[in-house]
């Protein structure tokens, strides 16, 4: 047990994934500075103060990471971001379905898109078991969502064939 704990403590830090947020923050700050370079001082002052501190902090974490690398305490990999690896296919499929949901909803409308998204996502996550339960749950939730968001709350959500049909009927 103690050996296990010791082994865990010695596991090198995943430098690659730990630097994603600082690098993104640095890139965004530099882009932000570029957009305000010729702006009036009122548009610059707060961002220059906060951005300068942020750049300093990023430099500090970069120095810390280089020291970890030189000491052998860290490795350039993305392990703690992608682990557990067995979930990578499910995670990527869910991300793909989410992107598809956003792009398809203007054409198919809320109800049909939500039904398709829920059933496909649940089927993927459950390894295509419990099909009947998943399909009925997805249908209930998407219809419930239609009644709550569109009928009751009058949300201006993109209408598709189902919403247009219901509008025509009632």
């Amino acid at each position: 047990m103690a050996d296990d704990a010791g082994a865990q403590e010695k596991k090198p830090v995943s430098i690659g994934s730990e630097l994603i947020i600082p690098i993104a923050a640095l890139a965004f700050t530099l882009y932000y500075f570029y957009t305000i370079w010729n702006a009036p001082w009122t548009a610059q002052v707060a961002a220059f103060i906060v951005g300068s501190v942020l750049i300093l902090l990023v430099v500090l974490i970069l120095i810390k990471s280089f020291r970890q690398l030189s000491r052998g305490d860290g490795e350039i990999n993305f392990d703690n971001l992608i682990e557990p690896r067995s979930y990578i296919p499910k995670r990527l499929t869910l991300l793909g379905l989410t992107i598809a949901y956003i792009f398809v909803v203007p054409w198919l409308g809320f109800t049909i898109t939500t039904f398709l998204f829920l059933s496909l996502a649940m089927l993927v996550l459950s390894d295509f078991t419990k099909k009947r339960l998943i399909l009925s749950l997805s249908a209930t939730l998407s219809l419930g969502g239609y009644l709550l968001f569109i009928v009751a709350f009058k949300t201006r959500f993109p209408a598709g064939p189902f919403e247009n049909l219901m509008n025509g009927l009632f």
Partner: protein, 509 residues
């Protein structure tokens, strides 16, 4: 007219007679508060045809009931699934969600309900009694004082960053930079918008909230069978009311904590443009600073849950004060109430207390009755609501993604906001997996633009003299309090460390 006990008793009776308006508004408020994007303000706008058709007193009672209950409803998903319903509940999951993971969801909900109800009820009564004096607060808190109050909220980033200071500060400052996206308040110069017109009016809060908390959480929980740990599941196997009563008992024992933090909410609520998010961050930060057990915050600590919940409910009565006394709405919901009153030909301001005292005091008695009714209607629900946490993540994750994406669309009806929520979801997921706190990013996104606005106003008024920040006595007093509250944890830590060292070396210890 004399405002004596008989007058207020009569007002209370009139409000109680409107129970048929308040009870549906409470349940509607709980639902809309719990779904990100469906705030009380949005719902009241949707239901404007109904509220405009009602008598002003009944319409106001309905809006107040919905407003108060939605504030409490926002804390429910924050505790159970780590998704705050509104920005005002963004500090609630810091300790509420760890409690749920430990199988104490039912207890956490009942504690949150008690803190919200008693905090809201107490501040409503205080607001009613101190109305003439409270209305003056807004006159004394100008841009300079608000900047210091913002610093109280922003210093929560440092508190959150306690475990890994560098990562916490990077997350917080990254959030602040994201918060600066949009046009500046003076010349309307677009900044950091990537050319998107939809970002000219700053980063919308709901997509940021949905992405950072809900989407990222949904992608993270699929690696587990359910939100609750195995030990937590075992703890939830004993059905019954015991957990609810235990939660009530624990919350009641922290009555001083509720009182203090709800008063913070009341004072911040009185300032137009402030609001529940600032109040809950300030309350959490203060609560941790003066706590005897600050090291327990973030691990499912009772005080860490009670502080933001009592503060954001203290705000509700506070926002009504400037609306009714000086005719300036303290927030979006109060602004809609103003529209409804004006539609009925009612002019708000000091005269209202003489011409229509039932309309001037009515919202406060309605709020008090709403909170009292919520004890009976909401508290029993804690037992059943908490069971949502044992639902398998196979079902939970897709439901969270689809319904919160809808929520991010609702406030502005832009499809762009759903894409934005996904971008924030990716940022939130990477942040979670690599130890950068998403709450620190969100604090920056919420408070960044507010602080910039107050800062620029102060600089404009002083013609660019930075010393304006130290020009008011109230502001200077607040600066002193800020320095004390930032220094105190370090002083206490050093003192405790020295004591422990001394005790270890004491042969008779």
């Amino acid at each position: 007219m004399e405002y004596d006990l008989a007058f207020f008793t009569e007002m209370l009776g009139r409000t109680l007679a409107l129970w048929w308006v308040l009870i549906p508004s409470i349940f509607l408020g709980l639902v809309v508060g719990a779904i990100p994007g469906f705030s009380a303000a949005n719902t009241i706008i949707i239901l404007l045809p109904l509220t405009l058709a009602l008598e002003p007193e009944i319409g106001l009672t309905f809006m107040v009931g919905l407003y108060a209950s939605s504030r409490m409803g926002a804390g429910i998903p924050a505790i159970l699934v780590n998704i705050p319903g509104t920005a005002g509940a963004a500090a609630t999951p810091l300790d509420g969600y760890p409690m749920t993971k430990q199988g104490r969801g039912q207890q956490a909900l009942s504690m949150s309900f008690v803190a919200s109800i008693t905090g809201g009820l107490f501040t409503t009564i205080i607001a009613l009694i101190t109305l003439p004096w409270l209305s003056q607060v807004a006159f004394y808190l100008h841009s300079v004082e608000m900047i210091v109050i913002m610093f109280f909220g922003i210093s929560l980033i440092a508190t959150i960053a306690a475990k890994d200071t560098l990562k916490g500060l990077i997350a917080g400052f990254f959030g602040l930079m994201i918060g600066f996206i949009g046009t500046d308040v003076v010349y309307e110069t677009p900044r950091g918008t990537f050319g998107f017109l939809e970002l000219y009016d700053k980063v919308p809060l709901i997509p940021a909230l949905v992405g950072l908390f809900a989407i990222s959480e949904a992608f993270a929980v699929i690696e587990k069978q359910s939100i609750v740990t195995e030990r937590g599941k075992a703890a939830m196997q004993e059905p019954g009311w015991a957990q609810t009563f235990e939660g009530v008992r624990i919350a009641a024992s922290k009555w001083w904590h509720i009182t203090w933090n709800s008063l913070i909410g009341l004072v911040i609520g009185v300032v137009p443009g402030a609001g529940a998010a600032i109040a809950s961050f300030v309350a959490y930060q203060q609560s941790k600073t003066y706590s005897k057990t600050p090291e327990l915050y973030g691990t499912g600590h009772v005080e860490g849950l009670i502080a933001p919940e009592s503060a954001n409910n203290g705000v509700t009565s506070g926002t009504l004060v400037p609306l009714l006394v000086i005719g300036i709405p303290g927030g979006a919901t109060a602004a809609i109430m103003l529209v409804v009153l004006q539609f009925h030909g009612v002019t708000v301001g000091p005269d209202l207390f003489i011409t229509s005292p039932e309309l001037a005091f009515g919202p406060f008695t309605a709020m008090a009755v709403t909170y009292a009714l919520m004890i009976l209607t909401v508290l029993p629900l804690a037992r059943y609501m908490s069971h949502i946490t044992v639902v398998s993540t196979i079902y939970m994750a897709p439901i969270i993604i689809s319904f919160t994406l809808v929520g991010s669309f609702v406030p502005r009806a832009y499809l762009f906001d759903m894409n934005l929520a996904l971008v924030f979801g990716v940022i939130g997921y990477v942040a979670r997996k690599t130890g950068y706190h998403v709450a620190a990013i969100l604090i920056g996104v919420i408070l960044g633009p507010l602080m910039e606005t107050f800062f620029l106003r102060a600089m404009k008024m002083s013609q660019g003299d930075i010393m304006v920040l130290f020009s008011s006595s109230i502001g200077n007093t607040l600066w002193v309090f800020l320095v004390i509250s930032l220094a105190l944890p370090y002083i206490m830590n050093r003192r405790n460390g020295k004591r422990e060292k001394a005790a270890a070396h004491d042969p008779y210890g």
